[in-house]
């Protein structure tokens, strides 16, 4: 049971990440690979805030959101000049820069050695020490993010984003300042991914830069592609599949000497088949 609870915690964290990324890619069509960077900044804000400054978990969540928002605002201004593939490449560059900073700013991040002993969330005298309680908190935040996603999706702001996604020039001709909208959704998406980072840091109790590399950004991108773009349900289901599938494969009784390689092959083949038969993802409302 404890194993399933832990898996559910990880699933919740990745659902939050997928929801925040789908806001950007699914709603506005801006393909960003920088999500792992903001996820990492959120995680480090919690790790440093709790271990160095003795801040509470929820304070560090706000700290992570603020830091991410400021960075995303600055970077978003630059990114807003780009479209399509160029947007993705520049965002990948941001991910690499943030990783390098986490790796080399030793006095603050402890570099490759990482940060240990990150505490659990607490409200008053109650600490979310048990995994079940921690899962409850993760579920609450995931539901809040899910609701926020749906609210934005159905708002006038969300409709402008979709217009921007379908035809940016047409949206501009209607009088919308598309750079402004791109910048706002980028800031929002980055800020929310910081929440997932905070939960990840507290859950694992140890973080190092290796968890926030570009490949993590690609993994998050895969989650929303499998689940379906522009779909809150797709984000959650995508996270469920990509987090739980490797675990299911542990139990299918493969010979242990080759199990790891076979598991990877089966995992890859299943994703391949899914993309062949469901190219828009399981619940996708938009296809790139």
């Amino acid at each position: 049971m404890e194993y399933l609870i832990n898996l559910a915690i990880l699933f919740g964290i990745y659902s939050m990440l997928a929801l925040s990324l789908n806001m950007l890619i699914g709603m506005s069509g801006l393909v960003s690979l920088a999500q792992a960077a903001f996820y990492g900044i959120g995680a480090y804000a919690t790790a440093i805030g709790m271990t160095t400054f003795g801040l509470g978990f929820f304070t560090t969540i706000i700290l992570g959101i603020v830091v991410n928002a400021i960075l995303a605002f600055v970077v978003g201004k630059i990114l807003a000049r780009f479209q399509g593939d160029y947007y993705a490449i520049v965002s990948a560059g941001l991910s690499i820069i943030v990783f390098s900073i986490l790796q080399n700013w030793k006095t603050v991040t402890h570099g490759p050695l990482g940060i240990f002993g990150i505490g659990k969330p607490a409200i008053g005298s109650y600490t979310f020490y048990s995994n079940t309680a921690f899962l409850g908190l993760v579920v609450i935040f995931t539901i809040v993010l899910y609701a926020l996603y749906q609210w934005i999706n159905h708002s006038s702001f969300g409709r402008v984003l979709k217009a921007l996604r379908e035809d940016e020039k047409l949206a501009q001709s209607m009088g919308y300042k598309t750079k402004h909208f791109k910048s706002v959704i980028f800031v929002l998406s980055a800020s929310l991914s910081g929440i997932a980072g905070a939960f990840f840091a507290s859950y694992i109790a140890f973080i190092d830069p290796s968890s926030f590399q570009l490949k993590e950004g690609i993994f998050l991108f895969t989650i929303i592609i499998v689940g379906g773009l522009s779909s809150a349900r797709g984000s959650v289901v995508g996270a469920l599949i990509l987090i739980s599938l490797p675990e299911v494969l542990r139990f299918i009784g493969l010979p242990y000497e080759t199990a790891a390689q076979l598991q990877q092959m089966i995992y890859g083949a299943m994703l391949l088949l899914m993309m062949i038969f469901k190219p828009q993802g399981l619940f996708g409302k938009y296809r790139m």
Binding site: M1, E2, Y3, L4, I5, N6, L7, L10, Q103, N104, K106, H110, G111, P112, L113, G114, F116, G117, F200, Y203, I204, A205, F206, I207, D208, S210, S211, V237, L240, I241, S244, L245, P246, E247, V248, R250, F251, I252, Y256, E257, A259, A260, Q261, Q263, Q264, L282, F283
Partner: protein, 362 residues
Amino acid sequence: MRKWLLVLCAVLALTACDNKKEATEADNKPVVKIGVMLPLSGEMAEFGQNSLYAVEFAAEDHKDSPIKFDIIFEDDTFTPSRAAVIANKFISVDKVDAIVTSFSPVGSAVSPIADKAKVLHIGLSNAANIAEGELNFTDWQELDIAAKKLVDYLVSQNCKKVVSFNMETVGNEEMRVKTNQFLDERGIEYKEFYFNPDNSDFALMIQKALDFDADYWILNSFSPGQDILRKKMIEQKIDIPVVNIQCMKLSKNLQLFENQAFVDAPDGSKEFRERMAKKTTSKVLNIPAYAYDIVDLIMKANEDFYVKNGRVPNDYELADTLKKTKFYDGIVGKLEIQDNGVIKSPSVIKKIIDGNAVIIDD
């Protein structure tokens, strides 16, 4: 679609419950389960796969034991988050008696989980934080010992002056500090240079280093830094010998370092190397050798306790038995098990001969 998702959830739930067995008597022997997580896929798979063979050897060597050792392997993909999930699987599904991890990020993620669940954990790593808690241990080449070994080697070669080229990473910084401490102690003069492989002016740095007229150059850098420096030395026909700690063996171009020495963790006994040669062509054998020793150590501690008490130990008793062992003759040499959970192990000097790292000082 809903059906499909339900099936996925059901399979996950059923499979998770499937292995829920308590340690049972098999062939009238008590069963001890050891969960071993290794990077069996991904960038570190070579080390993981070879360590798997080494753990299999350890299990083979204990097949006549009064205890049945059940080894459960899992692939951690060298990812801390995945390692955390596996640790929980080991603890709550497989009900293991001990967990073995390799490399610092994975060990660091598992250490608090093992501590909370009160399960013995040994991490193949030199990150001391992993050993925090009563049941956590770490085992790898101690940097203090490695740095001392390097300086002892320099002294044995009548070295009076060295230049050290230091790449700006945390790992290299720690090596630099430790090495300087021993250089000071032994009265060896040194001059330091710092560089970043991407943007440093190597030509100018080398020219300044030559002015110091050192007997040895310490290339305290992983590749590509050490490779660039070495190529520049060869181009300029500089025949000053180079040394370092651990980095040299990780160069993709060992020929560049022909006949140069470095400090490393031992590769295990001759017999172990021969056994491994039947399984793999890999030349990096020290990580598997440590994996062998860790598992062997856990098995021997279990056996010792069983012989004395007629039952297998719980995790606290196992940890206590390990700590009381103090010294253990492993295949990498004599290991010292300290009360703080850090297992100190030896270092050796290796030399690159015909493109291979060969131990010249056991």
